[in-house]
């Protein structure tokens, strides 16, 4: 194994913990320096490391799944002797990747996988969640490896490299898949809920309770989206609402 491959493998493992020392001051900076350190050990002497670390010390925050791209980028830039320009570029790129990656993962891929897990778990049983989890685990591990490689190989034309990536299209595809999964989940819940409620709702038909719950949910969703209601209060609000409804309906 070459020195570069060995340090890249060590960085890849460390990048799994990119959020591990996240804090409100320097955010991911410590984890990022730790992820670069295998390469730093190979390339620098003890005296050179202090100034090197100082140059990259400070605020650093980006999408955790795409952070490897920046590690590869810095390694290549430093290898090419362009150390002066690298810190400013890293700051700019971390924001770009943060924006692109957060859309891709938090509003696209993760909801899509989680909703598929939810539908499968309701229909087939709890064990089903292992399948989307394992697929996501492998896919994001591969993404980290790919990002590390692309960051190094395309560091000198990183702008063109990022522009050529189909991140927006992939994000839109995941968001569409998640929307379809929400539609399927609505039907699944409405089909599954009466099984639980039958015989337990008194004289009123089951649909009265279901429609009432959805109506309450619409109001709660509106309040939560306007940040008027903390989500942790939703079950307690439901308890109060159901107590009142029970007195009226049951």
């Amino acid at each position: 194994m070459t020195t570069r491959r060995r340090s890249a493998t060590a960085s890849w493992w460390r990048l799994w913990t990119i959020q591990g020392s996240w804090n409100r001051q320097n955010m991911q900076n410590l984890a990022w320096l730790v992820a670069v350190s295998p390469w730093l050990r190979d390339r620098t002497t003890g005296e050179q490391r202090g100034p090197w670390l100082r140059r990259y010390r400070g605020f650093f925050n980006t999408n955790p799944y795409l952070a490897p791209l920046l590690v590869g980028f810095v390694q290549r830039f430093e290898d090419e002797g362009r150390a002066t320009a690298a810190p400013a570029l890293v700051t700019g790129l971390s924001r770009t990747l943060g924006s692109l990656g957060d859309g891709l993962t938090w509003t696209g891929a993760r909801p899509a996988f989680a909703l598929v897990a939810a539908i499968g778990a309701v229909i087939l049983g709890a064990w089903f969640v292992l399948i989307p989890w394992l697929i996501f685990l492998v896919a994001q591990g591969w993404t980290r490896s790919w990002a590390l490689r692309v960051g190094y190989d395309r560091a000198l034309d990183i702008g063109a490299a990022l522009a050529s990536l189909p991140i927006h299209r992939v994000t839109a595809a995941f968001q569409a898949a998640a929307a379809a999964a929400v539609g399927a989940l609505i039907v699944t819940v409405m089909v599954a809920a009466p099984d639980r409620l039958s015989g337990a709702v008194g004289e009123k038909p089951i649909w009265v309770w279901l429609v009432g719950s959805v109506a309450v949910g619409i109001v709660v969703a509106e309040l939560a989206s306007r940040r008027r209601l903390d989500p942790t209060w939703i079950p307690w609000s439901a308890a109060v609402g159901l107590s009142l409804a029970y007195r009226l309906l049951a």
Binding site: A121, V122, I123, A180, G183, A193, A224
Partner: protein, 236 residues
């Protein structure tokens, strides 16, 4: 109140692994309430009710994207605790759901405490940075990663113990009407939470109309699948 050691150990281990995944290692979806909660139900021997509880929590948690949160919430521990606290009676699952919202707040504060610790430890590294002491950086980082795993385990374990103690105290005092209401909370929360999920998922894309088409497509497909197979939804 019975204190069976093995379920507590399983709850704490699952809490540690999922808690670590939530904040420190991977973000692999293990920490998602539907995954962590379903697995907790499976481990606790209450697979079906665990899935239903996790689904309710998933819908509630969808009200916020976990990016740039002002107040952090730990829905992972919240989803794990329920199946290890609730019993066979349906109302105990409603109690577990109410407990989950408390655990989400308490767990969130614990996450913030570890992050504050990280901030302080990070600020103390300036001398190590100037000296180029990579080992000091690695030691601090590793210690903080471990702290997140320990936090997840401790929060889950403490919540299960407190939850069981509360349940043991409440059980003889629950009248039939209160029990019925608690059961309803558990049964109806997924239905109540669907608009929250819907609102979030339709607000993320550039074209709501396009997403609505996909949503309708998913609903129609699921309806047809249900019509084709009466056994699609197994009694869980």
């Amino acid at each position: 109140m019975e204190l069976d050691f093995l379920p507590l150990l399983i709850a704490a281990t699952l809490g540690a692994l999922a808690g670590g995944d939530r904040t420190a290692f991977g973000q692999t979806l293990l920490a998602h309430p539907i995954v962590a909660g379903s697995l907790a139900g499976w481990c606790a021997g209450a697979s079906g009710p665990g899935v239903w509880l996790a689904l309710g929590i998933t819908c509630i948690a969808a009200a916020r994207v976990p990016v740039g949160e002002a107040r952090v919430r730990d829905w992972t521990s919240a989803a794990i605790v329920g199946p290890f606290v609730a019993g066979e009676a349906a109302w105990t699952w409603g109690f577990a759901l109410l407990l989950a919202s408390v655990v989400a707040s308490a767990g969130g504060r614990a996450i913030e405490a570890v992050r504050e610790l990280a901030r302080r430890r990070d600020l103390r590294l300036e001398a190590a940075v100037d000296a180029g002491d990579l080992r000091a950086l690695e030691r601090t980082h590793t210690g903080l990663v471990v702290a997140h795993f320990v936090r997840g385990g401790l929060v889950t374990l403490a919540a299960v113990l407190v939850g069981r103690a509360c349940l043991a105290w409440i059980s003889p005092r629950v009248d039939p009407a209160t029990g019925q209401i608690l059961a309803f909370i558990w049964w109806l929360t997924p239905a109540m939470g669907l608009p929250i999920l819907l609102r979030f998922q339709l607000s993320v894309g550039s074209s709501t109309r396009n997403l609505l088409k996909w949503l309708a497509g998913g609903a129609v497909t699921a309806t047809l699948a249900w019509q084709l197979s009466e056994r699609l939804v197994a009694p869980i």
